[in-house]
Amino acid sequence: MTSPSAADRWSSWQALDSGRLLLMSTAAMLVLAAFATATIEVRVSHVAMKVALSFGGFIALGELLRLALPGGREAAPIALVGGMSYAMLTRVNDVPMTGSPRLASAALLVIAVAAIGMMVGALPHIAAGRPAGLTGMCTRLVAIACVAFLFRTVGAGLVHDHSWKMMLAVITPLVLLGWLADTIVGALIRADDVGARFSVAISDEIRVQWALGAGVCASVIIVVLGAQVMGLAELAVFLGPLLVTQVAFRRYAGIRATYLQTVRSLARVTEVAGYVEAGHSRRVSRLAVAVGRELGMPERDLLQVEYAALMHDIGQLSLRDPIPGGATVLVSAADQERIAELGADVIRQAGVLEEVADLVRRQSWPATGHEPPPPLGSMIIRAANTFDDLVGASTDRERSAAALDRMRLDPSQYASRVVTALAEVAGRRLAWRL
């Protein structure tokens, strides 16, 4: 998705909204409690120390190798696997791992180890000048803490006999719960960040993360059960497939980002060729995505809208002479339709962007009276395009209000709910720039 430019971004202390603050203080309290207990109460054996060091190292490595996911998300699947499996470890190579006299402090020991591992893993990021990713770490820590407390207080009692079936029955729901906690907290923070509805943010998050989540859950089960047989050697061996899978995900996320970046850049050909005003396509796409989000569109559809908005003027390349100022709002409806058709033809040639081509083709249809009615994405692009044709890069309140009024007076062309959302987004944008 579009990331706000430097001017739109708030300074870091302002960005600490309530959700994030709550998450961070929860994590901080957990860590404090964990360290306090671990230093006073826990007398760990030599073996348990080795186990703690191994899992701590595993988590640190996972934090070091974070993974960028589509939509500007960041995950650390290996760290999550390490933390959750350490939380549910009962025996390592047939040596029992009770660790401490009280069960709750066993859970706190897990949190302490995970916290240290994460901090160590984050250090290289900080040293290299990258963001520390504190929010992500806190999210993972809270998820790991959920699993650890539930397992140590309830689950561990059920798995005292050596049956692997019982073990599987206990850890499977817990690991799913842990992953869900990570996903839901992530969605909450994200909903705050991008201004999406929470229900939409959750379903988006699950749609993006399910494959990785399935891998994480299965990996935790494999590590916990495999360690009973192979001990810590299993951790080292399992790192192989985990790393290779992570590389596959990294390549996938990388190519998606390059794809979007390329379309963004190439959409500017219309500007360089003098068909439209500089920055037009990018402003329209940013506006269209914001409006779509305001109207509760899921991320998948927003990506289509973004592509379509970036390329909505590509049909103008087939015109011999540029329209004055490139403002399609000023030409006749028939010409607008022709440009839209030409653009859709170009996009359709790619053979992979049928839906995007469709959005571009129908962008010139009026909101009412057309059979079939245009899809929501097309109506949004049309409104955003008109708004930018009339307002441009200007931040003048009155100009923006006049453009919105013009659209409100023409409900047959511009759907009223789209215009309302556009007014909301435009108002917010002006407030940011003050």
Partner: protein
């Protein structure tokens, strides 16, 4: 692969397997349980082998089935491992002919057998009841087995490619370019074999089911990558075509320059990443022409100084458009400098000799060649030999002679898709009269 040499090759692999089976140590008593375990591992192998992940735009596909074979090495021994690998014959893939199946089966069996023998030779314990107090000892023999398995596999496949290369079935040498990544992936997932074996000791055959989940997740990610990559290049192509619609005669130019640049890059032994980058740069090298007013592009007769300057700006304009794409910097330099000349009389910077980036020297040759072999409004297309002569004449003044040589060699090997004779466009106003890329008809500028 249908040639006699290929059949001979398959025969040799089968013979080698058969000869080695006799000398392989028998490790596990053949009981009902043995058969049960063998069949389950074979099923695991078959599931993995039948759902391979496509590797981007290469003809090879990849599957993590080695995990099943290597689990069999630890649990059952060398000969059963060969039996697991051999079920590749039955793999449920369409479009696989008998010879391909036979080869896959023989390859699976031989690599399983060799891996098992390496494991036993290094004192790896077959069918252990548990890993005892120090499970680390098993990692050494297992790692050797995994390495032998991966190397045998890739070595045998490499042999097939060598046999086929003479027959030009592969244009892009699919195997060699993605080899490092393939080897690492194979080794990574081979490690899963040991995980299957260790879980097997705890939970029996359910281990196979548990391991399938991460395998499918990995496969999903690889498949998604390939799909996105395809979508990406298709979109690039479509957008470049959109740029070319402005000019009737230069349609397909970007595509062919991309092809030619890629040919040269492979000929001089560039790595995959750089080859991919130069193919993109070749495709986009003229994008900046959009910034040149149409009247200038379509003007007949000599250009004024200003108009010539506008044309000379197009590489810079192109750079402006593509700068933000996450490209290699080299590709950007290639677009920026593709009109420099080796003698220093080119534009925009007037670089000479090796001041000109390598990418730009390559694109310049492919660019001029395609321009000469395409029809223009003021002349017919040149034949390939004529255009080659022209390139040789320009070597040392306009082009880098080494690059020209590499291009000619690649041309001999791979051929060139000559664009069909362009039909006269009905609308003559969309025709560029002078082609700025054409070295045989340089743009004329009015001398003051």
């Amino acid at each position: 692969m249908v040639s006699r040499a290929a059949w001979l090759y398959i025969g040799l692999v089968v013979l080698a397997t058969a000869a080695l089976v006799n000398s392989a140590p028998v490790t596990v008593p053949v009981t009902a349980q043995f058969w049960r375990e063998l069949i389950i591992l074979q099923l695991l192998f078959l599931v993995c082998d039948s759902t391979p992940a496509p590797l981007v735009s290469r003809q090879t596909k990849w599957s993590p089935s080695s995990a099943a074979t290597l689990a069999a090495v630890v649990l059952l021994g060398p000969v059963p491992a060969a039996l697991v690998g051999a079920v590749s014959v039955l793999s449920i893939k369409r479009q696989l002919r008998l010879d391909g199946r036979l080869f896959n089966g023989a390859m699976g069996a031989l690599s399983g057998l060799l891996a098992g023998m390496a494991y036993v030779a290094l004192d790896g314990k077959v069918a252990p009841a548990g890993f005892g107090h120090n499970p680390w000892w098993i990692i050494g023999p297992f790692a050797a087995a995994a390495a032998v398995h991966v190397l045998t596999n890739q070595g045998l496949i490499w042999g097939v490619y060598r046999l086929n290369r003479g027959r030009r079935m592969l244009r892009s040498e699919g195997l060699e370019s993605s080899l490092p990544l393939l080897l690492v992936s194979d080794l990574g997932y081979a490690a899963l074999g040991l995980i299957v074996a260790s879980l097997w000791m705890l939970m029996g055959a359910f281990a196979a089911v548990l391991v399938l989940i991460p395998l499918f997740v990995a496969r999903w990610a690889m498949g998604q990558f390939a799909e996105q990559q395809r979508a990406y290049s298709a979109t690039m192509k479509a957008l470049c075509q959109a740029v070319e619609t402005k000019d009737y005669y230069t349609r397909g130019h970007g595509d062919r320059v991309s092809l030619g640049s890629g040919m040269i890059a492979r000929q001089i032994g560039m790595g995959t990443d750089r080859t991919d980058a130069i193919e993109f740069a070749g495709m986009l090298h003229d994008v900046g022409k959009l910034g040149v007013p149409t009247q200038v592009l379509q003007k007949t007769g000599p250009l004024t100084e200003d108009e010539f300057a506008a044309i000379q700006l197009h590489p810079m304009r192109g750079l402006e458009i593509v700068r933000e794409i996450g490209f290699l910097n080299e590709a950007l330099a290639g677009i920026m400098h593709h009109h420099e000349r080796i003698d220093g009389r080119g534009y925009p910077m007037g670089f000479a000799g090796h001041e000109i980036p390598e990418f730009a020297r390559i694109i310049a040759v492919a660019d001029a060649f395609d321009s000469m072999t395409s029809t223009r409004s003021y002349r017919e297309a040149k034949s390939i030999p004529d255009a080659v002569t022209e390139l040789i004449r320009g070597a040392d003044t306009q082009f880098d002679p080494l690059i020209v040589g590499a291009f000619i060699a690649a041309l001999k090997r791979e051929g060139w898709p000559v664009p069909g004779p362009a039909a006269k466009p009905e609308d003559l106003t969309t025709v560029t009269v002078k082609d700025h890329d054409d070295p045989t008809a340089p743009l004329r500028v009015i001398q003051p």
